[in-house]
C-alpha cells in the first residue's frame, strides 16, 4: 500500500469517526505543515496557532474530502489559506497565489537547514531530540545505519535497499525496524518528560 493509499485509508477511518486515525495524519504531516507555514509567518507561536487552526479546519472539512487530490495537497491548501486569512486579519501582507500554489505545496521541499519555529525552551527540547537521534544513529551497527539512511534520507524502497545491501527484503524490513526502535528507545525518556507533548 503506497503513501497516498495509506493517507486515504486514514482519512476514511477519520471520516467514519476514528479520531485516532486523524491524529496519525497529524503526526505524519505536522512538521511539514509547520515548515511550510514558517515561510510566511516568522513567529514560532503564530506558526503553531495557524498550524493548529489548519488541522482543525481540515478535520471539520473531512466529510467533503473525496480523495481527488492527495491528502497533503489538500491539507497544505488549507494551511496556506489559513495563513493568508491570518495575515490579512493581522493587517500584514498575505502571500499571493503565484507565490505558493498547491502544486508547489505538493512538491514542497525546503532547502534550508533545520529552521527553528520554537520558543527558547521548545528549541532546547528540539535540539536535545536532534542530538539524541544523531548520537544514536552514529552508535548503530553499520547495517542498521545504512538501511535507515537509505530509507529515510534517500527515500528508497525496501526492494532497492535489498539490492544495494545484497540481502533479502525481509532483512531490510527488520534492520529498519531495529534502527527505528533503538532510536525510539533512547528518545522515550526525553519524550516521556512531557509525555506525548511532541510526536
Amino acid at each position: 500500500m503506497g503513501d497516498r493509499e495509506i493517507d486515504q485509508q486514514l482519512v476514511e477511518r477519520a471520516q467514519r469517526g476514528d479520531k485516532r486515525a486523524f491524529e496519525m495524519l497529524v503526526a505524519k504531516y505536522q512538521r511539514k505543515l509547520g515548515r511550510l507555514l514558517s515561510r510566511f509567518i516568522r513567529d514560532s507561536a503564530e506558526v503553531e496557532d495557524v498550524a493548529q487552526e489548519a488541522f482543525i479546519k481540515a478535520y471539520r472539512a473531512l466529510p467533503s474530502f473525496r480523495g481527488d487530490s492527495a491528502f497533503y495537497t489538500w491539507l497544505y491548501r488549507i494551511g496556506i489559506n489559513t495563513a493568508k486569512n491570518y495575515l490579512v486579519a493581522m493587517g500584514r501582507r498575505a502571500p499571493t497565489t503565484t507565490e505558493f500554489d498547491s502544486e508547489e505545496a505538493e512538491n514542497f521541499e525546503d532547502g534550508d537547514q533545520l529552521r527553528d519555529v520554537n520558543t527558547p525552551e521548545a528549541e532546547l527540547m528540539s535540539k536535545q531530540i536532534a542530538a539524541t537521534v544523531n548520537e544514536t544513529m552514529q552508535a548503530l551497527p553499520e547495517e542498521l545505519r545504512t538501511a535507515i539512511t537509505l530509507r529515510e534520507i534517500e527515500g528508497l524502497s525496501y526492494e532497492d535497499i535489498a539490492t544495494i545491501m545484497n540481502c533479502p527484503i525481509g532483512t531490510v524490513r527488520s534492520r529498519i525496524f531495529r534502527a527505528r526502535e533503538t532510536i525510539a528507545e533512547r528518545l522515550r525518556p526525553l519524550l516521556g518528560t512531557s509525555k506525548d507533548k511532541r510526536w
Binding site: 493509499e5 493548529q52 510526536w199
Partner: protein, 160 residues
C-alpha cells in the same frame, strides 16, 4: 511494532495495512510508535518540529470537536456485483427468448419435418397421392403438396 514500521514505509500489502490500521484504532502504543518513527524520520531529514505542547493543544481542540461522520461512499464492489448479476439476468433472458424463438420458428419446424421425411421418404409418393385424392374440408390448394414435393425434389437431388 515492526509492521507499523513497514506500514509507514508503504511496504505492507493492502490486507496487512488494513489490519494494522484496525489494530491502531484500539492500541495507543501503536499510534505512539507511528508518531515517534515519523519524528525520527523528520529529524533525520532535518525538518523543524513544532513546539512543545502543540500536540496536547491540538488533541484538546480535536476532542472538543464533534466527531465527523461523513456519509460512507457507496461500496463499489457491491455495485459491480449487482451490475454483473443484472447483466447476467438480462443475457439469460435474451438467450431464453432467442432459444424459444428459434425452435418455434417455421423454418426450424420445416427442418425438423425434413428429417422425418428423410427417414420415411419411401412414403412420399403415397402421401402425395393420398393428398391428391383425399377429401378435404378446406379449400383445396397447392399448399399441402409443397412440403412433400419439396422433400421428393430434395431426395432426388441427394440421390444424384
Amino acid at each position: 511494532m515492526e509492521r507499523i514500521s513497514a506500514l509507514m514505509d508503504g511496504e505492507l500489502d493492502d490486507g496487512e495495512a488494513v489490519q494494522e490500521f484496525k489494530r491502531c484504532g484500539g492500541d495507543a502504543t501503536l499510534v505512539e510508535g507511528w508518531a515517534t518513527y515519523h519524528l525520527i524520520g523528520d529529524v533525520l531529514r532535518q525538518e523543524a518540529a513544532l513546539g512543545t505542547g502543540f500536540n496536547d493543544r491540538l488533541r484538546e481542540a480535536l476532542a472538543a470537536e464533534p466527531t465527523v461522520l461523513a456519509p460512507r461512499p457507496r461500496n463499489l464492489q457491491r455495485r459491480a456485483r449487482l451490475f454483473a448479476l443484472s447483466a447476467a439476468a438480462g443475457i439469460a433472458g435474451v438467450l431464453a427468448v432467442g432459444w424459444l424463438a428459434y425452435f418455434n420458428h417455421p423454418a426450424s419446424l420445416d427442418a425438423g419435418a425434413g428429417q422425418v421425411a428423410e427417414a420415411d421418404s419411401s412414403m412420399n409418393e403415397y402421401l402425395v397421392a393420398h393428398h391428391e385424392y383425399a377429401d378435404s374440408a378446406s379449400m383445396p390448394s397447392v399448399t399441402p403438396y409443397v412440403r412433400y414435393v419439396n422433400e421428393i425434389r430434395r431426395e432426388g437431388a441427394m440421390s444424384r
